[in-house]
């Protein structure tokens, strides 16, 4: 191989490798998309003889599914809203005041963000039985809130640190209270941060399967994630087309919110935001 050829290989090779990786990632995804519009969907990916919207309309018109989606939305939206409000409040003193135990507190928060929730589900279940919150949708929301608070506080505090004090102080001079200051001056300047946290908490609970699976047991209270599992886990793979259509609809909010969140994250992605103490 001469130099010219080698140079050519080096130029093409990365593209070839990436294309193969891309194809491997694409195939399972393509199946769910194609099967959802195939009237005779099978387990393997194939070109449909004709396209149909019937799978989607079946899924959408089912009242059970509508309820599952509504419960899922209610849980995730409720959780995101509560987490944002509580995190804003909690982050304020952590960002603005000199507190004695701030550092250990923030480290504890960081520590809690990284613990796997899976590990506490058994005691949480027992706790929920004791508190009569078992099989209660609002109870699930409470647990979701608690488990995403550390992340919310950590992120919002870091975002708040970058909002300058001056504007807020100016508002105080004009007679605004601390609350008004947060609401009218600090919060509007943190819209990207707030949206990031809201989107992440929303997606976290929307996509979560284990928590509602443990804490709920009546099928009429199941959110979309559990409903899908019910179709796919317990009753076998009866109707691939509908299963795929349900999956696409269920994945849609996560996808849309992810795209939306890209606009809010100024520097794409990175771990550097976390290093601020």
């Amino acid at each position: 191989m001469n130099g010219q050829q080698r140079k050519w290989v080096y130029r093409i090779l990365p593209y070839a490798i990436l294309a193969v990786i891309g194809l491997c990632f694409l195939l399972p995804l393509l199946w769910v998309l194609v099967a959802s519009i195939d009237p005779n969907a099978m387990q393997s990916l194939k070109m449909p003889a004709r396209f149909t919207g019937a799978n989607y309309s079946e899924v959408i018109t089912s009242q059970e599914n509508q309820r599952a989606f509504a419960i899922g939305l209610l849980m995730s939206l409720g959780q995101a809203l509560i987490v944002v409000i509580l995190s804003l409040l909690a982050a304020y003193p952590l960002s603005r005041y000199q507190l004695k135990y701030k550092k250990p507190f923030m480290l504890t928060i960081l520590f809690m963000t990284s613990l796997p929730i899976t590990a506490v589900m058994v005691p949480v279940y027992q706790l929920f039985l004791g508190l009569k919150l078992y099989n209660n949708v609002f109870g699930v929301v409470l647990f979701f809130v608690a488990s995403s608070m550390p992340y919310g506080i950590w992120m919002i505090k870091n975002f708040m640190d970058s909002v300058p004090n001056d504007l807020e102080e100016a508002a105080w001079v004009d007679g605004a209270s601390v609350f008004t200051g947060i609401r009218k001056v600090v919060a509007p300047l943190m819209v990207p941060g707030i949206c990031t946290v809201a989107i992440f908490t929303f997606s976290g609970s929307w996509g979560n399967f284990f928590v509602p699976y443990i804490l709920l047991n009546s099928p009429e209270k199941f959110p979309a994630s559990l409903k899908l599992y019910q179709f796919f886990g317990q009753y076998g793979m009866a109707d691939y087309g509908q299963l795929a259509a349900f999956s696409v609809l269920y994945a849609l909010p996560s996808v849309l919110l992810y795209i939306l969140s890209q606009q809010f994250m100024s520097k794409g992605f990175g771990l550097q935001g976390g290093t601020k103490g």
Partner: protein
């Protein structure tokens, strides 16, 4: 100048303890639903807590019995081994290395091409875990896409989910999680100054040398942090494995979370299940402490 600086101070002084009320709601929620359950894990793991039978009527402190049982239980050893295989296969080798390779290969490539590949990889990450499980279950199924492809090439069908179940769940988790590492490494590689690499090229360094001697040492911190985060995320994976294989066949894909679930909610041995949770929790705590230490450096 003086007066304007003094004002906010006075403002703060007047409400010097108001901050407690700001923190109170979030601390309360975390205490009740997060910290208390963690403490309960320690407590319950020393009890005979169960949902059925004698133990359901009376909660008894049984000391280290659960732990003795755990160390004697061969399925605990299997689960720990499975967890390690799953962690190393899907988190360390899979997501971390593959994410790095993708990010590296993408650097300085055609923009449209990067976009397309990046979006495909990201789609797996954005997709909820239950949908991932369904997609990969179909992909590896007896009549699934993979068998259709190898059938097309003239190779007989393989029952992937039965013959190599661990491999299928590892690949599923790689499919689901690699985008995270890819994004992290893309950001990190963008931060490596071009001048350093260019200078090395002028000095006659090979691509491999540049990668090993310059690029990787430069982003070492990111590699450590990402490794910890990915490992922690993978440690808690339940739904993906549970929906794809149910921990089986047999105990082939029973990782600690699945084993914990089976003991606590299938066999109703909550106390024993909690002892296993504690094992998982301790693993998580050790990893988190490493993670925090690596962040502080």
């Amino acid at each position: 100048m003086n007066s304007s600086a003094a004002l906010p101070l006075a403002h703060k002084k007047k409400r010097s303890y108001a901050w407690i009320y700001f923190l109170l709601p979030s601390i309360a929620v975390m205490l009740v639903f997060f910290i208390y359950p963690i403490l309960l894990t320690f407590y319950y793991s020393f009890t005979n807590l169960a949902l059925t039978g004698e133990a359901a009527k009376e909660l008894k402190f049984i000391g280290l019995d659960n732990y003795v049982r755990m160390f004697q239980d061969p399925s605990v050893r299997v689960s720990i081994w499975n967890t390690l295989v799953f962690l190393i296969g899907s988190a360390v080798i899979g997501q971390q290395v593959l994410g790095f390779v993708i990010a590296l290969l993408m650097k300085h490539k055609n923009r449209l091409f990067r976009r397309v590949i990046g979006t495909i990889v990201l789609a797996g990450w954005v997709t909820p875990e239950i949908v991932c499980a369904l997609c990969l279950y179909s992909f590896f199924g007896d009549e699934g896409t993979l068998n259709a492809i190898i059938g097309f090439l003239g190779i007989p069908d393989v029952a992937w989910l039965y013959t190599v179940p661990m491999l299928t769940v590892i690949l599923a988790n790689i499919w689901h999680g690699t985008a995270f590492s890819m994004l992290v490494f893309q950001a990190a590689l963008d931060d490596v100054p071009n001048e350093i690499e260019e200078a090395a090229v002028v000095d006659g360094a090979s691509r491999m040398q540049i990668l090993l001697r310059i690029t990787i040492p430069y982003i070492k911190q990111t590699i450590t942090t990402n490794m910890m985060l990915v490992t922690l995320q993978t440690l808690g994976v339940f739904g993906l494995i549970y929906a794809m294989t149910g921990g089986g066949p047999g105990t082939a894909t029973t990782t600690l979370p699945i084993f914990m679930y089976n003991q606590a909610f299938v066999n109703y041995q909550l106390g024993y299940g909690t002892a296993i949770s504690l094992l998982l929790l301790l693993l998580g705590i050790v990893l988190s402490l490493f993670y925090i230490r690596s962040m502080k450096e």
